[in-house]
Subunit: 193 residues, 2 copies
DNA sequence: GTCTATAATAAGATAGAC
DNA sequence: GTCTATCTTATTATAGAC
């Protein structure tokens, strides 16, 4: 995960991963026979690590704001997710199905969360199902801008601005816009994951 | 551009570009001495091609909605932009400065457009400067979801939903949500470009 | 389970002829 | 301006010893 965050999947060599892990390339290939299987192993590991965050039934917009706060303290993890998810749209990418499935699940989970918090109708006459992809898009899009220019893009504040547009009060009273991050909360998760 | 759209920058070989262009790898290297300079040439070419769209003084939210319509008819171009912009956040990427500068310019241009259309105050008490990164984020984030799952993500409709949240009327009367695209309008431009 | 050794390939780049 | 030929390096993957 560290190396993919730094260099992206394609530029990350098995030799580099092996070195960081403290064994040889061939030792690494004993556990993951191909580079592709290693990538899938990484994604599955992050999924397991994100198990708590994936308990979507308990998500609220305030939870999401805290997740964005947390992400703002972990640029490496955010970069992993951003680079890998975009890379996955290319032909025959081993992670394509993973992200396709994941985005669908996240949209559904967030739609459920929005419905639980706001009911069937949101500002502008939107349904939770129509607002969910926007919520996901804002999280991912802000991450890209923030990774490129953290000095000029206040990701947590911008996300709360969007929640304000959605009609949530979490944007105003939930957390200071540019707080110290959730240093205490050890909840993981990057991007919409 | 075509090949980068299909495979991403790193997976695109000089030999493949040369073949598509109808010359040998060495003939290509005569015009672009390194692969990095070729990438910069591609980005500059797209900038020139986007010159019309970059006349930001004339942008309005309706224009942006039409741009999203157009993008929905050109998955290859959108993919180029999505893959490349995300890839650019990795260490020492040759296009990093290009995208950093470009995102900053686009945010400023869109802030100006929002101010021209809505004045200094938007819904939720947002300023144009605070809404602009959200607008960019929604465009980019929707592109990623749409590229991964075009059957389930109606990018133009979702973008108009966001415009509705921003208080624009363009979302209702400007264009059918899932139109045939702007086949006549030859205006180019992918992503926030 | 980890190692050394070694394929087998593919890539970016250079030299020099025409 | 384009070509053939070649260099150099990096990468994924395999074979087989310990």
């Amino acid at each position: 995960m560290e190396l993919i965050a730094e260099r992206g999947y394609r530029r990350t060599s098995l030799a580099a991963v092996a070195e960081r892990a403290g064994l040889t390339q061939q030792g690494l290939l004993h556990h993951f026979p191909t580079k592709e299987l290693l990538l899938i192993g990484v994604l599955e590991a992050r999924d397991r690590w994100d198990a708590a965050a994936a308990a979507a039934g308990t998500w609220r917009t305030g939870t999401l704001a805290q997740l964005v706060d947390y992400n703002a303290t972990r640029p490496g993890v955010v970069q992993t997710y951003t680079v890998l998810s975009a890379d996955s749209v290319t032909e025959d990418h081993p992670a394509r199905e993973f992200f396709e499935t994941r985005f669908r699940a996240v949209r559904e989970a967030l739609a459920g969360a929005l419905r639980a918090e706001f009911g069937d109708t949101l500002p502008g006459g939107l349904t939770p199902e129509r607002a969910a992809p926007l919520l996901v898009a804002v999280m991912d899009g802000l991450q890209l801008q923030w990774l490129l220019d953290p000095e000029n893009v206040d990701m947590p504040a911008a996300f709360r601005d969007f929640l304000t547009l959605l009609g949530s009060v979490a944007g105003q009273d939930d957390e200071p816009a540019e707080g110290p991050g959730q240093e205490t909360a050890e909840e993981p998760g990057a991007g919409t994951g």
